[in-house]
């Protein structure tokens, strides 16, 4: 459909200059074009520094731990490992093993998990039109955890084609709780905030009870491990496992990013979105499925790490605006950085003992949740 040929009488005399300089002129008269519209340039200006910052933070965090490994030593070890083409202990020494087999994969896992939790938080908030939505608060994480715990109990946590089936069990549990929360909270076509939170609370307590029952009937040594995992713990994965997980999760994030514009429009409400030509049911189904898949996989490797999906998107919206084309990837990077910092704190605060990182994020995120609910509810309730 050609939209350029028609012309209003009032402004037709400006047409000659419109083709090249019209928009910028019009926008500059509108005030602050750079702030009111997201452009590819602004996107790059935000995203590139964030990527550099993530890399820098990784280098800083990797030095912390029970044993301090300085930057110079880090560079030596990495250089050596590259020259040898191996991360085996004979070639790189004890510090090398700590750095390359424990800290680095664990930090990378933290980056990935944080990115996923923040992104899922962003898209759930958009679909539910509620800035308090978070996979943990809504009971999606505990549903996924139930699925995983059940799989561990039944002993089907073995590997299929080198891929663990645990993420799939987590996906099933997460999807189940997403559907149940949605159905419970839906009233007259709306999703009131308090119904949503209440539905999440109820599901969380039911699932927690079931999970506790499952751990109580496990063998003692397995149940201790399961409890630690449930509290939200990052453990260093092997590089192949990390690579598989990264491909899977980054694929999911990429597919979510492809829905960014539709997510923007869905925040107007479903009826408005449909009147703008969006097949809302189709988009919602896809995004909910991806959210459950991502949450399931994340929970199966790191347990229940809460509030990242609520704190990070809120902060990123304040900094960079609400457009999901930028909000989603920026939240992913900042969420990743947040979890790297939280996990470094978990490893070092009571060193050599470790605190489950889920405790740190809950202690940081819980009060923030209260702040939003009490002081900012006029904005969304």
């Amino acid at each position: 459909m050609n939209l350029t040929t028609g012309s209003l009488p009032a402004s037709s005399d400006h047409r000659s200059c419109e083709n090249d300089s019209g928009p910028s002129q019009a926008l500059s008269s509108a005030g602050k074009p750079s702030l009111s519209v997201l452009t590819a340039r602004r996107w790059t200006v935000v995203m590139v520094p964030l990527m550099l910052l993530s890399a820098t933070l990784l280098l800083i965090c990797v030095q912390f731990g029970a044993q301090w490994i300085g930057l110079g030593q880090v560079i030596d070890i990495v250089e050596h490992a590259f020259r040898e083409g191996s991360v085996e202990s004979e070639q790189i020494g004890t510090a090398g093993v700590i750095l390359l087999q424990v800290r680095l994969p664990r930090l990378l896992l933290g980056l990935l998990v944080g990115a996923c939790l923040a992104s899922v938080g962003v898209v759930l908030q958009a679909l539910l039109r509620n800035p308090l939505a978070d996979p943990y608060v809504l009971g999606v994480s505990s549903g996924a955890a139930l699925g995983v715990a059940l799989a561990i109990l039944l002993g089907i946590g073995s590997t299929v084609f080198a891929l663990s089936v645990l993420p799939l069990c987590g996906f099933a549990g997460g999807l189940l709780s997403l559907v149940v929360v949605y159905r419970m909270a839906l009233s007259y076509g709306r999703l009131p905030i308090h119904s949503l939170l209440l539905a999440g609370v109820i599901l969380n307590s039911i699932f927690s009870a079931l999970i506790m029952f499952i751990t109580s009937i496990m063998e003692p040594n397995r149940s201790a491990g399961t409890m630690t995992w449930l509290m939200g713990t990052l453990t260093a994965p092997s590089y192949p496992a990390l690579a598989i997980l990264a491909c899977y999760l980054m694929g999911g994030l990429f597919l979510l990013l492809k829905q960014a514009r539709r997510l923007n429009i869905l925040t107007l409400g479903e009826e408005s979105a449909r009147s703008l030509g969006i097949e809302t049911e189709q988009v919602k189904r896809l995004v909910y499925l991806l959210s459950a898949l991502i949450t399931g996989a994340v929970v199966s490797v790191s347990g229940m790490i809460g509030f990242v999906g609520m704190v990070i998107p809120h902060a990123v919206r304040l900094m960079f605006g609400a457009d999901h084309r930028l909000l989603l990837p920026a939240s992913a990077l900042i969420g990743g950085m947040y979890l790297m910092i939280a996990d470094t704190a978990a490893r070092t605060l009571l060193s050599p003992a470790e605190i489950p990182v889920g405790i740190i994020t809950a202690l940081a995120g819980g009060p923030f949740f209260i702040y939003l609910l009490v002081w900012r509810k006029d904005r969304f309730a």
Binding site: T4, G6, A26, A40, R129, Q259, A260, I278, R379
Partner: protein
């Protein structure tokens, strides 16, 4: 300048045979039945046409099906029975995107919980025109043309000075104008408005009405508006459809539809009707000394 081109193109092309924006035949609609066997039709057998280029008002008491009808016309809801044609094409068979290129819908309330700017919100109206390339529909940048059309729509709704403001910080009138600008950015041929002046003070009501009038006169837009306000409908609509419990009660120019007997029949109360001092259209006034239970919707 360019919002009207889609309409022009259509007019010169296929639309010769369909000067009618909508042709509605025996339309029946209900929400999910509450109890089995209950015949709770919201709309029951509606038949009417909307001419291209007219301002068409839909009035009626609470629960008479006004908003449902508007949503059916926007294809936001789907009817159980009956046919609806949009410029001669079967609405039911049109993809949602194509409907969105022709029809823009402004719901009664548009609450936004995230701090999108006015400009970003208006630009969302360009979405149906991005559908060509799959990638850009999901993640792409606005073209210069999108920006120009959005800018023009904002000028029309007198929003240009608010372009960078968050929609959450707007007043009721500004938000309504923002939603109308978003609808205009769709470059539609038909504009559907649900209670466009509800909750607005007099000045803002007049502003909205002036915008609607200008859209009809300057761009030949077809406007369908739902309103509780009989005086507003009488003053601004070319024709009025009065609904009574989901059926067509009367359809015609304001002076044919609004009279004492008709309103008593539909609303169940007696009101005073005289002529508007300027335009001569019927004017509805609440009577004195009568314990009217209706709240003062009709001024």
């Amino acid at each position: 300048m360019s919002l009207s081109s889609a309409r022009e193109q259509d007019m010169t092309g296929s639309a010769v045979a369909s000067r009618k924006a909508y042709e509605v035949r025996s339309l029946r609609f209900r929400y999910q039945p509450l109890s089995r066997g209950a015949e709770n039709w919201v709309l029951d057998g509606l038949t009417f046409d909307v001419e291209a280029g007219e301002i068409f008002g839909i009035v009626g008491p609470n629960g008479s099906g006004k908003t449902s009808l508007l949503k059916l016309m926007a294809k936001v809801l789907g009817a159980q029975a009956g046919d609806m044609a949009l410029f001669g094409r079967d609405l039911g068979a049109m993809p949602q995107v194509e409907v969105a290129r022709t029809v823009a819908f402004v719901p009664q309330e548009s609450p936004q919980v995230f701090s999108f700017t006015v400009m970003e919100t208006v630009l969302m109206g360009r979405h149906p025109h991005h559908q060509g390339e799959k990638w850009s529909a999901g993640f792409g940048w606005e073209s210069a043309e999108d920006l120009r059309i959005a800018e023009e729509a904002m000028q029309y709704a007198d929003l240009t000075h608010l372009a960078g403001r968050s929609v959450m910080d707007l007043s009721g009138g500004e938000r309504q104008r923002c939603m109308i600008a978003r609808a205009l950015a769709q470059a539609p041929q038909v504009l559907l408005l649900d209670e466009p002046t509800a909750f607005l003070d007099l000045q803002h009501q007049l502003e909205i009405c002036a915008i609607v009038r200008r859209l009809k006169e300057e761009r030949g837009l077809t406007v369908v508006l739902v309103s509780h306000d009989l005086n507003l409908a009488s003053q601004y609509c070319d024709r009025i459809l009065m609904l009574k419990a989901g059926t067509l009660f009367r359809l015609g120019p304001p002076h044919d539809v609004i009279d004492v007997e008709g309103l008593r029949d539909v609303y169940g109360c007696t009101v005073l009707i005289d002529r508007h001092p300027e335009s001569g259209v019927p004017r509805v006034t609440m009577p004195q000394y009568r314990a009217v239970k209706n709240s003062g919707n009709s001024l």
